[in-house]
Amino acid sequence: MGRSFRIAAALLRIPHLALSLFAFPLILSLGIVVIQLLVTGAVVQLMTSTARPATATKISENNTHPIRWLIYGSGELRGPLKVCRWIAEGQGGERPPDQACAPDRLDVALHVDTPASYDATRFQKLFQGHIDRLHICRGCKPDVVITPRIDGEITSQAYSLFGLSILFLPYSNKDVVDQRTAVKEAYDDIQRALGSISMHIPEISEAIGVSSLKGTLPITSNIALLVVIALWLALKAHRKVLDYFSHNDVLLPLAAACGKQNFYSAIWILTLFRVGCFLGASIPLMYFGLTDIITTNMTMDLSFSIVRGLAWLVALVSALGLATVVASIAELKHRHSLLSISYRFLPLFGAFLGAVAWGASFIVPLHSCGAFRLVVSALPIVGIAPILVAPVTGLPYLPMMVHAVLAMLGLIWLLRCNARWFAAHLEEV
């Protein structure tokens, strides 16, 4: 083993390998984790905003708004809105009615054919307190122009970012916020009346906490994605080293000089080192990121059991690990075939079929469906979907552990066959 470590350390000093194996994919993977956290944060915020107490969203109570502050330097409501109906002049021209109606960029214009008689009450109400002047004209052009057409359709054009911001101010009008608040209060009332919602599945002793899905789903999906990225990195690292060596005709002399066992062990050490680097960097990032998202957006107790979490993680890693190795071997063995690209999707296809069968069993009103779901969950490849969502569905330990053991056995068997196949087909790599 010491010799394998020495070989791995020597290989790591080759700049191309060091860069392609570690630096580039590490930066890329960490970027993916950051994006994943940002998306999770946004999704969680969206999911929890509808459940937040209604009083927290009453943004118009204090009559200040950040957009007004950005535009005018003060968040306070503006004074009374002045409506300026422009007067037609000869040769198709027009002018504002008085000096106080001199157009400003931050005004809003209504483009209509008959400025003198157009009923603009609706727009006055919308922009009251947000702008100083509403121009009703045929062609004047401040930063916001609203054009009501004869067929009833209305278009709004903004000619600057400030103009665009003005178009969003009416959403904070008191009557709108009051209505939203009323809806939220009704939602909260329903939630309070129903309490925490749970779903009972025959074969699962504990009920599924539907209300707490907002917390368990982001955690589950983020950890699952982390495992997927780690396995993807492992697969790519293993391939990359072999491909790099074989493209340079160095694979055979190196394997001969190091000894086949030592050489393969060195490649696995590099692979594990790469995955370790990724996990070492991404787990703290994900832990603090998720903790921040969950504590900022939720007040609920997630009650995530550590033992249960570990059991799930073991099952998930072995399940996805087996799928990765199956895909890798299938593709490697047939890489000279035109259809080789399709082989990598074999486990995905199996998992999809399993997910469909597992999902469909919920619709079929038979008692035996519970046993069927447990069997599907325990089977490697086809049971990946139930394992992925196990923290949400509260899958019992037994099928999770059976799945993990079967997947690990399959993994070991495949790796042994893989090593034998590699030995016989080294030149084909």
Binding site: R13, P253, A257
Partner: protein, 256 residues
């Protein structure tokens, strides 16, 4: 048998690539300092080399290379291998590759500047040290890989088609190196250059379609190839094998 000689022993050896039987050697037992493997392209020479190195696993049977005292040679400890096209990473310099190789095989990245420097001189690769792999010719790549092989101080050096594509001068240089080194180590050389091998080999194995067509000392095989009397011919040769031997004879000595 001399101090540095090795023996190759095969017993019921069968190696297959999918449906193709690449090697089928019921029995082979030869000793010498320089063992030559002769045969056309596809005869099974490279397959035998890789099987000996443990890079290919036989379907059945076994093959072993033994020291003069009968102990088996271990590929990673006692052997070095130079493939047909040489071997070097395209995007790193020869010197960096040398350091990497010495670190792996000797545990000392600077070995090539100390005790190993004689092989740098012997193979004339000093002027190549700054060049990257992609800048080297096929012959230069082979010289680099040969020097690397010597750095490990192997008991046995395996060459796959080392003379292929070399001009007369380079061929003579390489033959001279083999001559110089044959006191220190043995060589197992696969080639289809009978003209070269008859000058440096002690024993020769002629392969045809994965089978041993004939084997023995250079003199014995040359007699066979040159059309010696029926009694001198190897036993069990088929007509096809005889036709192949005739081809090799013509290739080596000309149609006359």
């Amino acid at each position: 048998m001399t101090k540095a000689s090795v023996s190759i022993r095969a017993h019921n050896l069968v190696v297959r690539y999918s449906d193709l039987v690449a090697l089928n050697i019921p029995r082979l037992d030869l000793s010498g300092r320089v063992i030559a493997l002769l045969g056309h392209n596809g005869a099974g020479k490279s397959t035998l080399l890789k099987t000996v190195l443990g890079l290919l696993e036989p379907l059945s049977g076994e093959v072993a290379l033994l020291k003069s005292d009968g102990t088996p040679l271990r590929p990673e400890r006692d052997m070095a291998f130079c493939p047909e096209n040489g071997a070097i990473f395209a995007d790193i310099s020869v010197e960096r590759y040398l350091r990497c190789w010495c670190r792996i095989t000797r545990g000392d990245a600077r070995y090539y500047q100390g005790p190993g420097s004689k092989y740098v001189e012997l193979l004339s690769i000093s002027e190549l040290l700054a060049k990257k792999g992609r800048e080297l010719s096929k012959g230069q790549r082979r010289r680099v890989q040969t020097a690397l092989g010597f750095m490990g101080d192997p008991s046995l050096f395996l060459f796959d088609e080392p003379f292929d594509g070399l001009d007369v001068q380079r061929t003579n240089d390489l033959m001279e190196i083999v001559e110089q080194e044959r006191d220190n180590r043995s060589f197992f050389i696969s080639s289809h250059r009978m003209d070269v091998m008859e000058r440096i080999a002690d024993v020769v194995v002629v392969l045809q379609h994965g089978q041993v067509a004939c084997s023995g000392t250079v003199a014995e095989v040359c007699r066979t190839l040159a059309g010696a009397s029926t009694s001198d011919r190897p036993v069990g040769l088929t007509d096809a094998m005889r036709a192949h031997l005739q081809d090799l004879r013509e290739q080596a000595f000309g149609a006359s």
